[in-house]
């Protein structure tokens, strides 16, 4: 497995355009296996649906993600390995983003891909744990949190079609672009 990770890193470093790769393994875990700081942080919030916890192992870190439905919205609350809040994400529609920002994001995507399709759009907040969790599912005060857009894109570039996790600023500037390594589909094709 280590060799596999090293190969991925070597390969990714040889293509400057896609200098980042997102390789994530996700396991469902019980709340008892989640750092106490993370479960305590959510205890104060009246989440009406059951909280589903996932342990995510990426190339660089292990995180814990709580997935909940709250007031009809899908929320994803991510904590680091010791239970400190990393970010909060909420799934939104493309039309929920201002026209001018959508146009800018489209321009950025056209600069990276010859063809693309948006798969999932999320609003992402980072900042003070208490303020972020208290304001859910609404936006926290602008001066109290950093807001970005995280978009999963299926795009075609010179290396073919791939899925990407891309983050954009509030004004639509591309901040990061990670190619997602997906599980192969050979057993669904042959």
């Amino acid at each position: 497995m280590k060799v596999f990770f090293i190969l991925i890193l070597l390969f990714s470093s040889s293509i400057p355009l896609f200098s980042q790769v997102k390789y994530e393994k996700e396991h469902r875990v019980s709340a008892e296996k989640v750092p106490e700081a993370a479960t305590n942080a959510l205890e104060s919030r009246p989440f009406y649906s059951k909280v589903k916890w996932y342990r995510e192992e990426s190339l660089v870190a292990t995180t814990y993600e709580a997935k909940v439905r709250f007031q009809g919205k899908k929320l994803s609350i991510e904590f680091d390995s010791i239970g400190q809040l990393e970010d909060v994400e909420i799934i939104i529609k493309w039309s929920a983003i201002e026209d001018i920002v959508r146009t800018k994001i489209d321009q950025e995507l056209k600069g990276v891909f010859s063809k693309y399709r948006l798969v999932k759009i999320q609003r992402q907040w980072t900042g003070n744990t208490e303020i972020l969790l208290k304001s859910l599912p609404d936006d926290p005060p602008p001066d109290k949190a950093t807001k970005r857009y995280e978009i999963i894109v299926k795009g075609k570039s010179e290396i073919g079609w791939h899925w990407h996790e891309m983050t954009f600023s509030l004004t639509g500037e591309l901040l990061s672009n990670k190619r997602i390594i997906l599980r192969n589909t050979d057993n669904l094709e042959y």
Partner: protein, 223 residues
């Protein structure tokens, strides 16, 4: 649902025939650049029992046939692919040949994957007439631990396929239902096993039911 479907079919069709046995498959997938891939497949049938439902079961152990195929595919979008291939079938001293063309699409959902495959094939050679087939297969792949299948974790796969065949002006239909339990050994290595049920000549006076115990090994390599 599958069991009910099988039992209902068997009780109605005493004069119809059955076959059962083992169906091992080796699937090697070579990844090339620019979304090109080559699939090498070996599949064999070993017959354990066959006959008519109305007669006492007669078991025997016999080699049935072997298929060797090579399919070249190209990813045309992130989740869709086009492929053409060639298969050769060895049945005793006879050999048959098949050309195939397929379109595949895999949809990813938060907790499962859904695959669609449309395939056309043309088979000739041996003592049988040339056969033209058109088939559609729906595949469901559900992780049994979490939202994704990780190495050393199990998954459930269900294939459901409809095939229409034209042979000597006779049109027939076959339905397949294949529930499988899979184990992802590593990211490029997986094993699956389960029942491969085939209901051939659907609606005809004498239909045939095949019950294969399938064992599939998938291994992928290359860039």
């Amino acid at each position: 649902m599958l069991i009910v479907f099988c039992l209902a079919s068997v009780t109605v069709i005493g004069q119809n025939s059955y076959r059962s046995g083992l169906l091992p498959t080796i699937n090697l997938n070579q990844k090339l650049k620019q979304g090109w891939r080559i699939n090498y497949q070996w599949q064999s049938r070993w017959i354990l029992a066959e006959g008519l439902f109305s007669e006492p079961a007669e078991t025997r152990w016999a080699y049935g046939l072997s298929d060797l195929s090579l399919v070249v595919s190209k990813k045309v979008q992130g989740n869709t692919g086009l492929a053409i291939g060639f298969l050769t079938r060895f049945v005793g001293d006879l050999q048959r040949f098949r050309l195939l063309q397929q379109y595949t699409s895999v949809e990813r959902f938060p907790a499962f994957r859904l695959g669609h495959r449309i395939r056309a094939d043309q088979t000739w050679g041996g003592e049988d007439a040339t056969t033209l087939r058109l088939r559609y297969r729906l595949s469901l792949d559900v992780p049994l631990n979490g939202n994704t299948t990780n190495p050393n974790e199990l998954y459930f796969k269900l294939n459901h396929e409809y095939l229409t065949a034209l042979e000597s002006k006779d049109l027939s239909m076959e339905i397949r239902m294949v529930p499988m339990l899979g184990l992802l050994l590593t990211d490029n290595n997986k094993l699956e096993t389960g029942l491969d049920y085939r209901f051939d000549k659907v609606g005809a006076p004498k239909s045939r039911h095949s019950f294969w115990w399938a064992v599939n090994w998938y291994y992928s390599f290359g860039k």
